[in-house]
């Protein structure tokens, strides 16, 4: 046996050797990026439930996939390129994927088919009390106003040279809703999934830093001190009817929102019906946790060096920040209009909570409000626009999918 030859072969086939061949150094950069993301998730606690999985998925795919050497890879970008290529014999062939797949390719099928984001929405629905929104339906206007960043970022992305579907996927970062961003990007621009998911979840974690300066800039101290009257009590019947009514009207209006709105409202019905406590518990705990693991690792796996390390990624990170900031400003503008029209009864700070990101954005409204009036409790008032933002971002995604989905 040629021991030296075997050792040489092992050495040449090892990942270490690949770092020095062709574009192998890019994998090394991605490995470092994945460690930075792990640091942000674990030490800085930036959306750790998602970011840890995304970072480790990124690490695994960049450790196992090198250009020209992919037989042991956990994720195969070329298989998914064939899956999306209309001229390929394997166009939309899950059979071809499954017969050549690595572990993370199997996980990614759930993202590609839109299963995980929808199931996450079911969990969100089961965790969300829509009572504040039902008590004050005007909150929906703030949820709509706060989608401004989606469309401004979309326009900005077109200006920067992205295609229509890519720009739509980038714009939805402004909806401040991770599952919605992943859902839409998977459908319209899967090649951008990694950077868009990273931007969406990073900025969601940074909401307590991004929003307060904009809130201070757009409101006066007098406005921030406004105390709002307590909302009316919402009956159990109303809470049960709400998911049925929302699903019916929104899906009939925009059928492309059906997976997200349908699952969101199904989860909420489990919560409110009073007869499906076990299903509600499963949706918001066990199922949510399981799906989060699959979603995060498979999204992270798409962060292959050849796709991620590009100027486009930097553009997406910048556009994402712009989208978040403008969405916050849009919500605040809505809040200012309500402040004026209500004769100063509505605190405009609740407008910024219209950017989905439940309940982080509502907490920011509460914290900023209390900084100026210690006896001011805006949290429940801000939860209305906050949950309205979830519906608003799903509607925005539905619109973009209807236009660019082909």
């Amino acid at each position: 046996m040629d021991i030296l030859g075997v050792l040489q072969k092992l050495g040449m086939e090892s990942g270490f050797a690949q770092f020095f061949i062709a574009e192998g150094w890019k994998n090394l950069v991605m490995i470092i990026i994945s460690f930075v993301l792990l640091y942000l998730g674990i030490v800085k606690k930036f959306e750790p439930l998602l970011l840890c999985g995304i970072a480790f998925g990124c690490l695994l795919s960049n450790l196992s996939y090198f250009v020209g050497m992919s037989e042991n890879a956990l994720y195969h970008p070329e298989l998914w390129a064939q899956f999306l290529d209309e001229s390929s014999p394997y166009y939309h062939s899950y059979g071809h994927i499954m017969s050549h797949a690595g572990l993370l390719d199997f996980f990614y099928i759930g993202v590609k088919a839109g299963i995980y984001p929808s199931l996450i929405f079911m969990g969100v629905g089961a965790m969300t009390d829509f009572g504040p929104l039902i008590a004050n339906p005007k909150s929906l206007l703030l949820g709509a106003a706060a989608q401004l960043g989606v469309f401004v970022a979309f326009f900005g992305a077109v200006l920067l040279g992205f295609t229509g579907p890519q720009a739509a996927s980038i714009g939805i970062i402004g909806g401040a809703d991770g599952p919605t961003a992943i859902f839409l990007t998977t459908k319209l621009a899967p090649e951008l999934l990694g950077p868009i998911a990273i931007a969406a979840y990073s900025y969601m974690a940074l909401i307590p830093l991004i929003q307060p300066p904009i809130m201070k800039l757009m409101t006066t101290e007098k406005m921030r001190k406004v105390k709002m009257v307590q909302s009316r009590e919402v009956s159990k019947t109303e809470k049960i009817l709400f998911p049925c009514v929302v699903a019916t009207f929104v899906i009939l209006l925009l059928p492309s929102t059906a997976p997200l709105i349908g699952c969101l409202m199904l989860g909420n019905l489990f919560r409110e019906s009073g007869v499906t406590d076990r299903l509600s518990d499963t949706s918001q705990n066990a199922l949510m946790n399981i799906v989060t693991i699959f979603l995060a690792t498979s999204v992270g796996a798409t962060m292959i060096a050849q796709n991620f390390l590009s100027l486009d990624t930097i553009k997406i990170i910048i556009l994402g920040l712009v989208a978040f900031a403008i969405s916050t400003a849009g919500g605040l503008l809505g809040g200012l209009v309500m402040y004026k029209t209500s004769g100063g009864q509505i605190n405009p700070l609740i407008g910024s909570a219209g950017v989905s990101a439940v309940p982080m954005a509502a907490r920011v409204s509460q914290d900023v409000g209390r900084r100026y009036n210690k006896n001011n409790y805006l949290l429940m008032h801000a939860m209305g626009p906050n949950v309205a933002g979830v519906i608003g971002s799903a509607v925005a995604a539905g619109f973009l999918l209807a236009v660019f989905g082909g």
Binding site: F155, G164, F249, A388
Partner: protein
């Protein structure tokens, strides 16, 4: 059909405006439905309250005391407790006063109710 992949700036602007308008339209529609639903529920609750009031009117008349109790100086009246023991109520009132940085005698508590959730 216009090329929506290599989209022009004009089309992008029009799409953005239309998209924002559609989001508003959908949520305004939903808001209207919720207002109608709320109005129906309120009317129903009012109707129920009136019918219950009619039936129980004589009993209520019997229960009204003839003389009104004089309140102690500085008192804000009686505090109603529902499924809450006085010790817990006292603790809750103290916590609220502390959180609000207001003296307890400047606050008025009308009732304290334990919210119970149904469990399977």
């Amino acid at each position: 059909m216009e090329d929506l992949v290599n989209i022009t700036i004009g089309t992008a602007g029009a799409t953005a405006l239309l998209g924002y308008a559609v989001v508003f339209f959908a949520l305004v529609l939903l808001m209207s439905v919720l207002y109608i639903l709320g109005a129906v529920m309120k009317a129903k609750a009012k109707k129920q309250a009136v019918s219950v009031g009619d039936i129980e009117a004589p009993r209520v008349m019997e229960a009204v005391p003839l003389e009104i109790k004089a309140m102690a100086p500085g008192s804000a009246g009686e505090l109603k407790l529902y499924d809450t023991d006085p010790r817990t109520a006292a603790m809750l009132m103290a916590i609220v006063a502390d959180e609000m940085h207001a003296p307890l005698n400047e606050l008025r508590f009308l009732s304290i109710r334990e919210i119970k959730e149904d469990k399977d």
